[in-house]
Symmetry: C2
Subunit: 317 residues, 2 copies
């Protein structure tokens, strides 16, 4: 990521340090829970997007770091709540807060992280930034609501699934881009141009994540294949596979009750070619994200944004 | 509340209208869940506190209403999450979101309300206000975390209990006062003076709420007596009663597993005089709140603040 700007690695390190500081600021118990979640949060793609969306070397690096930290905290908060709702024992191969501390502690830990996100962002003294993040936070929760409402349903459409991904994932990627542009002094119009990019990258990210749940390997995801199926979450590979196979169309999602059954179903889904079709969909979304980047921006930033989009695909290659 | 200022009833009505608008803004499903929670939220004591803390007739009434709405939304969000964690079927005699829509929908509904609170407050363009609210939101969650950590414990001390009330309840009352002062153009120093008042009123509120759980009647609370005991939540009446009765000191909170056992225990607690002692503690906190009001304020505002403090006591008389 040096290519995106020589200041980026330093700011990512500052993001990491601040996240650790916030995790430690709420007492030892929360430090353990929040710290574990933040640590398990992955590759910091969202803070990276904030930094790259900002473009040139920032005049106020601290403001940009705060924006990235805030986005990552909202992401971490929803991870904790998702794990509670899914009763998920593991995330990236480590015990979840839910598993190690229980439902109550995990729900509260998520709320603390959520509140901390807004406290952090408020320090930028920018109401438009707070608004962008709270809208994304709201969309995330709405997406979760939709997922619960659609759980175990036979007739989840592609459109419905894509709308859910939009809410659940894409809108926070969008917010990351918006925050980067705004904090760098860009206008709301500038922000809108990159917002579309962020939304598409986020959608591709979720699509590929859902493919990985079916394809495995479990060593990559830290959980069994078919976890979504076991949770009643109908994703694109299953939707496509059902269009292609009468046998799969006849499967009642409620009947998928054991890990063995879920794994067997994953094999059947893969046999229809639905994984390739889903991957292709994701790749076309990434291509659209890159093609839709605004003309006339700095070439270095354009290349950096393309690299971020490609890294989402590479992650799953 | 006319006494506090002839503009107050109108602004409370505007608060109510805006809360209904926000509940309806996230689709029919959430409208139902969020609307029910907001409706069940009670007497709007927190928005009232925002309005009264502002003092004179506001120059920007909309800003004050937004602050009250934001505080009430954070309150509603935590109610939904609390009901999930307590698996509470009823709140104020109505089915909870958890009961009517399930764990997933209720957790997500709480997150939406939480995000909506910050979106609303951000419109005031005041980073200090967002900070005050996010700190309170964080404290609320920390209080909830503490409550879970202390659940079923024999040795919860008075200090520990009071600290939990501080986090769980008092800090949002404090934020209500802070927001009122800041939005009215007061300094951080002015805000600090009323913050102490808000914290005390909030503490008294929680103390009396905990007394009500033991004293009943169930028609007042919309739930069985001893619900806290059944949930493993050790409150002041039980702590005092255990100091006074060896029989009660010997009770293992884990052994309270049926509503009948909890109700019988409530009678035993009442017989020790612990309810009167708890009420007295609350009344002394209210007296301190009133006595600690800053000298030299407008007499009308002072009287209005005293009335709010007294209304907390009157609610339980």
């Amino acid at each position: 990521m040096e290519a995106a700007g020589p200041w980026i690695p330093g700011l990512l390190a500052a993001t990491e340090a601040r996240l650790a500081e916030i995790a430690a600021a709420h007492g030892p118990r929360l430090a353990e829970h929040a710290g574990a979640t933040i640590a398990a949060g992955g590759k910091r793609l969202r803070p990276l997007l904030v930094l790259v969306a900002a473009g040139a070397e920032p005049r106020v690096p601290a403001g940009l770091v705060r924006a990235g930290v805030a986005v990552e905290l909202v992401h971490s908060a929803t991870l904790v709540h998702d794990d509670v709702l899914d009763a998920a024992p593991l995330r990236r191969g480590r015990p979840t807060v839910w598993a190690s501390a229980g439902r109550g502690a995990a729900t509260a830990a998520g709320d603390v992280l959520f509140a901390a996100a807004f406290a952090e962002l408020a320090r930028n003294e920018r109401a438009d930034e707070v608004r962008a993040l709270s809208r994304a936070g709201s969309a995330l929760a709405m997406g979760e609501l939709l997922q619960r409402a659609d759980a175990w349903k036979r007739d989840v459409s592609r459109e419905r699934y894509l709308h859910r991904c939009e809410l659940k994932t894409a809108r926070l990627f969008e917010a990351a881009c918006t925050l980067g542009v705004l904090e760098a002094g860009g206008s709301a119009g500038d922000a809108e141009l990159l917002a579309v990019f962020g939304r598409r990258v986020g959608l591709a990210f979720q699509l590929l994540d859902d493919v990985l749940d079916v394809s495995g390997p479990a060593e990559r995801t830290g959980k069994h294949r078919g976890t979504d199926l076991l949770d009643g979450t109908v994703t694109l590979p299953f939707i496509i596979a059902r269009e292609r196979s009468e046998a799969l169309a006849a499967v009642d999602p409620r009947a998928i009750t054991t890990p063995e059954r879920a794994e067997a179903l994953c094999d059947q889904i893969a046999a229809t070619g639905a994984l390739e079709a889903s991957r292709e969909h994701a790749h076309s979304v990434v291509a659209a994200a890159k093609a839709g980047l605004p003309e006339g921006g700095a070439p270095a930033q354009r290349r950096a944004l393309e690299l971020v989009a490609e890294s989402v695909v590479a992650r799953y290659a």
